[in-house]
Every structure is written in structure tokens, then in C-alpha cells.
């Protein structure tokens, strides 16, 4: 593919929604105001685990509020996210809690004329609780005698018993680990802990619901999937999907926090149905922090290798802290091993994963869905292995990584496809050069107060969950493309832009395919009523799968343009070509050998219109047949202050192989953002709960400690490069990007810190305090030894 021929792809262009977003003119869900709209508030539990003995609504109702309790909601358990097939789906959720399982869970809700009255009414609802022992540690939760969160949940269409708080478990065995380990020369192993982290997305979750006279509902909601929200609402409230219309909204960032139907959505709907008036319901930041978080993981890995560095096999035992509800535990267990075996060739695998309920915020996918946790563990062990073998860490990785032509199953054992593009050697070489890898010294040679270290983390993320055959995860998209009378183009897609510029990328891909100036392509507002099904904007699939659908349909439209123009120009359609004329601001349809046989797309479309013929348009679904890995390597140089434990990032060399770079500014932004969030995960963010199940931060964002611009390396210390690859299955050669940008970052920090001070950390975050304590402990040990 000759990328220099691109008109739009790879060019820096102003974001279509940029002005609206930075000037405050963009309307988000919370900005939606409807006539006769009421304001909702939830009544949140002050306990993390409790039975609800009684709810007295009389005072609140006397204030004129509509009050919703468990008595009013459909008795139907559901999963907020239906993207796994029925046999892999657990359902444990009601619209309002039957029993409180996390701090701040909604036990009732009110709607009133003003926000103030709603707040007063919510406080006036009297709830009598019977507090239960709070279960916080997933390992303790599995011990005999631990307080159970659930008796039963629904699995498929059956009610199943929950024992020892285990929501689900999964085993994967490949090859023969015992035999492989018997022939292994070197082992490394470790137990790695990563806490739940809060998404800290800018927009708090909100919903507006309007009940319609025909019994239907119209819903404005913060979500990454309008179709998932519609399907779940249809199931809960038993309304035909044709009467459930969910609008696509602008979203103020998610990092994955809205991949499911948000917990506020059905509450807002139930309030609106009861009040028979529109209702808006928005979570406060404090409520939001109890609502969702990353999956906490506790993992033991044992990795074997031959003397020459060839990996022989792995043993992995994983416990995932899923919190109070299950969203995607079964998939999580599948991908957790998938990430590891797709990082490095491991012919022999013994894996057991277990999802455990605790009284904490429900685990929800967050940038990487288990991948940063897995990569942190694996890349730490690879460095340890390299040291044991006396090999260069880069060489060890090059020897073992899963590469071109190999099978990739990052999305779990049922989603396997072939790797067709691979920029890893290029990324590693370039990264080495940019960071100055050759000046890297072992930690033993360092002394003094400030010690510098260079570390590497490499990783990837899948683009979508596509594969040649259906797996346990649903993954396909759809698009509608139509040509307007002036030659401009409307694209209808259920894709959601949750911060990564997905819709911008889609517009560029369509503009490229149709040779239309970017300014003439709009991804128009839509809803579930007129957009084809799209599973969700998640799994770094927006550009690859959603964009793939748009390109497939745009190619059909291009074919129709050629066939239609062929009749007007009186030539064979196969003779027609298209090019963009930026001066005219039009796509031009022409026949290379005959200069007068040409017309603009506007001329074609307006003729079709004035002659009452047709709209040139097409609509189709698209299932990607692969989920190619987008590779990212992160080289870091850090400086550790051994007096305070503070870690400063001096240099970061970030390299990405995302196939064709659709939007250079956006891609750079993803890598910089990934570095920042990864840094937070590695060094700062520690969402922790006290013994009552209350967040220690009490829900104040100031103590959630996501890093800011002050923590970033200086601009001159930041270098970014892209591998020049082409993904044959991707739209114009593109792959995903968003999650890959973060996945290797925590590992790179752990490895750079090790290189600086010679201490390896197995638990994140590596706060200044933990680092200083480890240094002091080592000092004390050395002194004692000398004595």
C-alpha cells in the first residue's frame, strides 16, 4: 500500500467536534433538558453490605416526590452488558438493590420538580438496614465461613448457587506443563497485585428518559453502546425494542466506564415510567467512584525458559476481585490468559482463573481490560529472566514474542486469528536508539542520592474481538453511507466517540474511500432507531471494526457512484475513476483516457435528485475476521530520589504499530494519554477501601491521584514514533490503538525503577512511600549483615 497516495488519512486535520468541545457548546447527556422534566436522585446505602429491612417513603411523598422502591421494579435479574453469548452470561443485578452489596448502592430513588426538592426528598426516605459483615479481600472471601454476597444468580436461563463467593472460574490447559518444566533450565516466578483503580472519566454518568404515549421510551444516556443499552432496557421492562429508542450522545471520556448500560439508566427509566413524565438522573462524583473500577487482580506466575532464552511454559493462577456485581467475569478470565500467551510464545500453559465477589465497586473494563495487569506481571518476569540468563532484555523479547504468521488469541481461547502485520522489531530498535539503551548500567553500579534507571515494557492490545468464526464475545458493526444532493456525505453509525476521536477517524476513512474532502463528510447524530447494530465502542475496535464497516459500505457506495455515473457519461463503469478536487471541494468522477468525460459528485447527486431517480446510498453489517494486535513499546528513563522515594520521569520513548495512522494528532494524544494513565497506575492511583467498605478517599477526586501535566516528562524528554506497517484486514491498513497505549506502561516503570535502585516491586502502585520503605528495609538488612 502506498500511503503517500492518501488524501486524508495520516494528515493532521482539525477535529470536527473540537470547537464545540473546548468552547463548552457541546451538549452532553447532563445538558439535556426536556419540557415537564423531573429531577431524580437515588437513595444510597451508607453500608457496604446490608439487608434492607424496611423503606418508609411517606415523608418524601408528602413533599410531592415520586418515590421508587424495590416493590416498583420488574423482578427480573439482568447483566448490564450483553456482549457475551447467553451461555457465558451471569445475571445478578436488579434495577434497585434487593440487598445492599456495595457502599452507595441505590436502594430507592425519587423524582421531583427541582433538583433541590429531589435531594431533600431523597434524604427524607427512611431506610432500615441490617448491616452484614463486609467482605473486602477476595482471598478471604473464598474461605469457609466468609459472609456470602449472593445465594444464587442467574446463569443463562437457570438459577445457580454461588458458593464461597466465587462468581465463575475458568481453566485453560495447553501442551504439557509438567513435561516442559522438567526440561526447563531457569524459572522465574512472582505474585503480582494490582488494585482496583477508578476510571476518573471527566463526565459523571447521566440519563434522561421520556416515556412515550405508545408505551415506549426515549433515552438519552451516557454510554459507549446505544444498542446494548436498548437491548438490556427492553429485556428489563419488557418493551419491544422498536419502542425503545436510545440516542447517541457526546461523551466526556469513559476509559471504559460506560461499556455497560450504566446503573443509573434503568433507575431513571423506572422513575420516568412511574412518574409518567421525563426524568433526569445524574450521579455525583462521589457516587460515581463507588459505581465502577478496574478489576483488581492477584496473580501468581511461574515462567520457565531454556538456557538459550526460549520460553518453555507458564503456570498462572489468577484471582480477580470483581466487586459487588458481575459484568464480564468469564470473559475477563479468558482474556487474562489470552494477553499472556499472545505476548510470548508459550506452548505449554496451565491456567486457573477465579472471579470473586467482594463488597466493593463492581469491576468494569478499564483501558486494557486485564491487559495492563497481565503485561505488568509478564514484562517484570521477562526482565528478571533476562538478568538470570545474562541476556539483553530486548534480545530475550525479540526471541520469544508472538509475531507475523503466528496465531494470536488475545481475546481469549475462543477468538483465534493469524497475525498479518508486525512492527515489533522496528519499534524495539527505534526505542533503543531514542532512549539511549546502550548507556544502560546495572543497578549495582549506581550510588548517590538520585539514581537513574532505564526500563522497557512492550505490549499490545487487540483491535476488536473479531475472528473467522463466532466466539463467546459478540463483535460486529454496521454503517449507512449516503450521498447528499450537494455531493456531501452522511455517515450513520452507532459507534460512540468516548474521547479517542473514533468518529473523526470514521469520517476520515469514508472521505478517503470516496475521494471526498473531509469537510464534506459528517458522522451524523443518530439513535438505535436508525443505526444498525454495533456491539460497543470498546476493545480498541472503533477504527478497526467500526471504521471497517464504514469503509466496506463506502466501497459499495463508490461502486454505485461509478455505475450511476457510467449511465450519464455513457461509458463502462469499470473505466471510471475518482479523485478529490480540493479547490472545487468535490469528489470528481472521471475517465482517465477521455478528458471531457467527467463530472463532480455534486453534479451526479443533484441529477439523480432533480430527475426523481434515487439517493446513492448503502447500508451493511461487517464482522472483522481477525483482531490484529496493535503493538506498543515503552522505553522510560526515570530518576529515583532515594531520600524521599519520589520518581521523576526524565525520558519516555513511545512507539506504536497501529497500522495506517488515520489521525496523527489523535494517535500521539493516545500515546501521551496512555503514558499518563499508566504512570498513575504504576506510581500513584491507589483506590482503597476501609473496613466498612467506604472508599478511603470518601469519593473525593483530589485523593484519586490521577497524574496531571506536572507529572509528565518535559516535551523534550518525550519522543514518539510509529512503525510503518499495513494491516491487510484493516480499513485502509489501520488497526486499533487506545488500550495498547497504556498496557506496557506500568511494566516499563517497574523495570526502570528496578534498573535505578535494584529493587523489584510486585504490587502497584509503587508510591514514593512504598519505595522509600523498601530502600530503608534494604539498608537496615545490609547493616545487620555487616554487624
Amino acid at each position: 500500500m502506498d500511503k503517500s497516495q492518501f488524501n486524508t488519512l495520516g494528515k493532521v486535520t482539525p477535529r470536527k467536534d473540537g470547537v464545540a468541545r473546548v468552547t463548552g457548546q457541546e451538549t452532553y447527556t447532563v445538558d439535556t433538558i426536556l419540557p415537564r422534566m423531573l429531577h431524580g436522585r437515588t437513595v444510597c446505602s451508607p453500608f457496604a453490605h446490608a439487608r434492607i429491612k424496611s423503606i418508609d417513603t411517606r415523608l418524601a411523598e408528602a413533599m410531592g416526590a415520586v418515590v421508587l422502591t424495590f416493590q416498583d421494579i420488574p423482578r427480573r435479574r439482568y447483566n448490564e452488558r450483553i456482549i457475551t453469548v447467553e451461555w457465558a452470561l451471569h445475571k445478578d443485578h436488579y434495577v434497585l438493590a434487593d440487598k445492599v452489596r456495595r457502599m452507595g448502592e441505590a436502594v430507592a430513588a425519587v423524582a421531583a420538580e427541582t433538583e433541590e426538592l429531589a435531594e431533600k426528598a431523597a434524604r427524607a426516605v427512611v431506610v432500615e438496614y441490617e448491616p452484614l459483615p463486609v467482605v473486602l479481600d477476595p482471598i478471604e472471601a473464598m474461605q469457609p465461613g466468609a459472609e456470602p454476597l449472593y445465594d444464587t444468580v442467574v446463569y443463562g436461563d437457570q438459577e445457580i448457587q454461588i458458593e464461597k463467593n466465587i462468581a465463575c472460574a475458568r481453566e485453560v490447559n495447553e501442551g504439557d506443563v509438567d513435561k516442559a518444566f522438567a526440561e526447563t533450565d531457569v524459572f522465574v516466578e512472582g505474585t503480582f497485585d494490582v488494585h482496583k483503580i477508578y476510571h476518573a472519566q471527566m463526565e459523571p454518568k447521566s440519563v434522561v428518559c421520556r416515556p412515550e404515549p405508545d408505551g415506549g421510551i426515549t433515552v438519552w444516556a451516557t454510554t459507549q453502546s446505544i444498542h446494548n443499552t436498548r437491548i438490556v432496557l427492553g429485556q428489563i421492562f419488557d418493551i419491544p425494542l422498536s419502542k425503545v429508542n436510545v440516542k447517541r450522545m457526546s461523551v466526556g471520556g469513559t476509559f471504559g466506564s460506560s461499556i455497560q448500560m450504566n446503573s443509573v439508566v434503568p433507575i431513571g427509566v423506572a422513575l420516568a415510567l412511574k412518574a409518567r413524565r421525563p426524568v433526569k438522573l445524574t450521579l455525583t462524583r462521589e457516587e460515581d467512584m463507588h459505581d465502577h473500577g478496574r478489576f483488581g487482580t492477584h496473580a501468581h506466575l511461574k515462567l520457565g525458559a531454556k538456557k538459550d532464552g526460549t520460553l518453555t511454559g507458564i503456570e498462572l493462577e489468577l484471582v480477580a476481585d470483581i466487586g459487588a456485581h458481575i459484568l464480564q467475569g468469564y470473559s475477563f478470565l479468558g482474556v487474562s490468559i489470552g494477553w499472556i500467551v499472545s505476548l510470548y510464545r508459550l506452548p505449554n500453559v496451565r491456567y486457573k482463573g477465579t472471579c470473586v465477589y467482594t463488597n466493593k465497586a463492581p469491576g468494569c473494563a478499564m483501558q486494557g481490560f486485564g491487559n495492563p495487569q497481565a503485561t505488568f506481571a509478564m514484562e517484570s518476569l521477562m526482565d528478571e529472566l533476562a538478568e538470570k540468563l545474562g541476556m539483553d532484555p530486548v534480545e530475550l523479547r525479540l526471541k520469544n514474542y508472538v509475531r507475523l504468521g503466528m496465531t494470536f488469541w488475545g481475546q481469549g481461547p475462543m477468538v483465534r486469528s493469524l497475525i498479518r502485520s508486525d512492527g515489533v522489531p522496528d519499534l524495539l530498535e527505534k526505542g533503543k536508539e531514542l532512549i539511549g539503551w546502550d548507556r544502560r548500567q546495572p543497578p549495582g553500579l549506581k550510588s548517590g542520592r538520585f539514581r537513574r534507571g532505564i526500563g522497557l515494557g512492550r505490549g499490545f492490545h487487540t483491535s476488536s474481538a473479531g475472528a473467522p468464526q463466532p466466539g463467546d464475545v459478540i463483535d460486529y458493526s454496521g454503517a449507512l453511507v449516503k450521498i447528499n444532493q450537494d455531493g456531501s456525505v452522511d455517515v450513520v453509525s452507532a459507534l460512540v466517540d468516548h474521547g479517542g476521536g473514533t468518529l473523526e477517524g470514521m469520517a476520515k476513512l469514508v472521505a478517503e474511500t470516496l475521494c471526498v474532502p473531509l469537510d464534506m463528510v459528517s458522522v451524523v447524530p443518530t439513535d438505535t432507531g436508525n443505526a444498525l447494530y454495533d456491539v460497543c465502542t470498546h476493545a480498541s475496535r472503533g477504527t478497526y471494526a467500526g471504521g471497517g464497516a464504514a469503509v466496506r459500505v463506502a466501497k459499495q457506495v463508490r461502486q454505485e457512484i461509478c455505475e450511476t455515473a457510467a449511465r450519464y457519461l455513457n461509458v463502462q463503469p469499470e473505466a471510471i475513476e475518482m479523485k478529490v478536487d480540493q479547490e472545487l471541494g468535490q469528489a470528481v468522477i472521471y475517465v482517465p483516457s477521455i478528458p471531457d468525460k467527467q463530472m463532480t459528485l455534486k453534479q451526479l447527486a443533484s441529477r439523480c435528485w432533480s430527475e426523481s431517480w434515487k439517493t446513492i446510498a448503502s447500508m451493511d453489517s461487517y464482522r472483522p475476521v481477525a483482531c490484529p494486535p496493535a503493538y506498543v513499546t515503552v522505553f522510560l528513563e526515570v530518576e529515583v530520589d532515594t531520600w524521599t522515594g519520589a520518581v521523576r520521569t526524565l525520558h519516555a520513548a513511545l512507539g506504536a504499530d497501529c497500522g495506517t495512522v488515520v489521525n496523527p494528532d489523535g494517535a500521539v494524544g493516545q500515546l501521551e494519554g496512555g503514558l499518563s494513565r499508566g504512570m498513575g497506575m504504576a506510581l500513584y492511583e491507589d483506590i482503597d477501601w476501609d473496613e466498612r467498605g467506604q472508599l478511603r478517599s470518601k469519593g473525593y477526586l483530589v485523593d484519586a491521584k490521577t497524574p496531571g501535566i506536572m507529572e509528565s516528562p518535559h516535551l523534550e524528554g518525550l519522543s514518539i514514533h510509529f512503525a510503518d506497517t499495513n494491516e491487510p484486514t484493516g480499513p485502509h491498513g489501520a488497526k486499533g490503538m487506545g488500550e495498547a497505549a497504556l498496557n506496557p506502561v506500568p511494566a516499563a516503570y517497574a523495570n526502570a525503577i528496578y534498573n535505578a535502585i535494584g529493587i523489584r516491586f510486585y504490587q502497584l502502585p509503587i508510591t514514593s512511600e512504598k519505595l522509600l520503605a523498601a530502600l530503608v528495609e534494604r539498608e537496615t538488612m545490609l547493616k545487620e549483615r555487616l554487624r
Binding site: 531520600w643 524521599t644 500513584y684 483530589v702 485523593d703 491521584k705 496531571g708 507529572e711 512511600e769 520503605a773
Partner: protein
């Protein structure tokens, strides 16, 4: 102003002055201050402003943190205060939060308290009946406890212009570098005579005790001595000893104490270097 004092006096002890609201409004949202009457001081011009008067710098209690950052008198005569204002919360909060509000709120982690303690500041409390000046060190009693009476307002804060050969500095350890609550903070102010001997030393600590405090013993070892590495190290050690921190979400007591020593030493070195190379 008269009206505000009358309101406070009338509603005492249920009246509560409200300036920027960056603490009070957050607390009200979680149900504190129920049944109290808020007296809004937000538009009282008499409470704003920064001036030089009779050898003092005087600032109105309602001066916002942003205003501190912009004023040349603060930059010239209150370096630690200026440095503290620069890392105070975030720009949105700085535009609303006031100096008096930060002091009256009396959080152990109030970021403006250590620099003002290091400057030797006094605060002016006024009611309908009287006016009194109290040193800031006496004013702060404990966690959320001060000498202010229900009918009083903090009208202004003042300190003597630092002498010629003087220097000061502030540093805050947060869990990140901006928009963070202090894990600990420290401010120092030193002055020397022509022979280079220290004639004034003030060391103040934040988030290291129930109230921001002065490390008097640490200050004493510097008095009358040239500012050199040994004395500075000893002062830093004593300052860490004076700290009585607790363990909480932002750090353990042990970590706080250890880092206090590093920070106080760093600030004293900075200040002594500033004296040598003005």
C-alpha cells in the same frame, strides 16, 4: 461590613461567614452545618486588597489565593507565601478560596498557614464590639479549632516586611504535583546579619500535627550561628522531631517524619543559598 458583623452577632452562634465557599459548600453537601445561617462576605470590597503600611504588609481576609499570586508586594516580601499560593489546589479553587477562609477553616493541611507562620503573621479579628490582633501561632488551636468567636470575622492578616538580608522558601509534598492535599508541607524564613550569622529563623510545618506549627527548637539551633551544613542538618532533624503526624490515606506517620527532615533541610539550604547569591 457593619451589616455583616451585625448579622453575625445577631445569629451567633449559628451564623457562619461564607467567603469563597470552597470548603463550606462541599461540607454542606455532605450534611454538615445544618441549621446554620451563612453570611455571604463574597462581595465585601473592604475585605480585599494587599498593601504596605508602616513597615507591614497587610492583606484583606477576603483576598483570594489568585490575587496573592499576582501581587508584586507578595512576590517581593513573602516568597514562601507566593510559592505556597502557586501550588494551592487548582486554578478554579484559587480564584475563589480566600486567605482568611483557609486559616479559619483550620485544617491541619491548610497550605497558607506554614508560610504565614514563617513570616510571623498576625491576624485581625473584628466583631461589632471590638477589634483584636492575635499572632497566627496562637490563633490556631487544633484540628478545625481556632480562637475566633462566633461573632467575629478575620478582617486582615499582616506581617513585618522581612529585613534586608533574608530569604524564605516553601515546599509541599503532595501525592501528585497539582490539585493535591498536602501529605506534608514546610516553610522557612531566615535572616542574617552582615557577618553572616543567623539573626532570625522561623520553621513552620503543615499536615504534621493537629495544627500547623512552628518548630521552635529547630529554629533555636540556627540562631546566632552561620548557616552551614551541620547546623542545617541538626535543625532539620529537630524539625522532624517536632512533627507529630498521623497515618492516613495520604501517608503514614513514619513516612511523613522521614520526608520532613529531607524537606526542611532542602528549604534551609535553598534559603542560605539565596542569601549568599541574592
Amino acid at each position: 461590613m457593619g451589616e455583616a458583623l451585625a448579622q453575625l452577632s445577631e445569629h451567633a452562634p449559628q451564623g457562619n461567614p461564607l467567603a469563597g465557599g470552597t470548603n463550606l459548600v462541599v461540607e454542606m453537601r455532605v450534611g454538615r452545618h445544618q441549621g446554620k445561617s451563612m453570611v455571604d462576605l463574597g462581595r465585601l470590597k473592604e475585605l480585599r486588597g494587599i498593601q504596605a503600611q508602616n513597615g507591614h504588609i497587610v492583606i484583606g481576609g477576603g483576598t483570594t489565593v489568585s490575587e496573592l499570586l499576582k501581587h508584586p508586594l507578595i512576590a517581593d516580601h513573602a516568597v514562601p507565601l507566593c510559592q505556597s499560593a502557586a501550588v494551592f489546589a487548582n486554578p478554579l479553587i484559587r480564584n475563589r478560596a480566600t486567605v482568611a477562609g483557609n486559616l479559619v477553616d483550620a485544617s491541619p493541611a491548610a497550605d497558607l498557614a506554614p508560610p504565614l507562620l514563617a513570616l510571623g503573621a498576625e491576624v485581625e479579628l473584628v466583631s461589632r464590639e471590638h477589634t483584636r490582633w492575635v499572632s497566627l501561632d496562637e490563633f490556631m488551636v487544633g484540628v478545625r479549632k481556632t480562637l475566633i468567636q462566633p461573632d467575629e470575622l478575620m478582617r486582615s492578616i499582616r506581617w513585618s516586611k522581612p529585613p534586608k538580608r533574608s530569604a524564605g522558601a516553601f515546599y509541599k509534598v503532595g501525592l501528585r504535583k497539582a490539585d493535591a492535599i498536602s501529605v506534608l508541607s514546610a516553610a522557612v524564613m531566615v535572616a542574617c546579619d552582615t557577618s553572616g550569622r543567623c539573626k532570625l529563623a522561623r520553621i513552620a510545618l503543615g499536615a504534621l500535627a493537629p495544627r500547623p506549627l512552628r518548630a521552635y527548637e529547630a529554629e533555636d539551633v540556627l540562631q546566632g550561628q552561620p548557616l552551614q551544613a551541620e547546623g542545617i542538618a541538626e535543625a532539620a532533624r529537630l524539625a522532624a522531631e517536632a512533627a507529630r503526624p498521623i497515618s492516613d490515606i495520604r501517608g503514614t506517620a513514619e513516612y511523613r517524619k522521614r520526608v520532613t527532615e529531607v524537606i526542611v533541610r532542602r528549604l534551609l539550604v535553598q534559603a542560605s543559598e539565596a542569601l549568599e547569591h541574592p
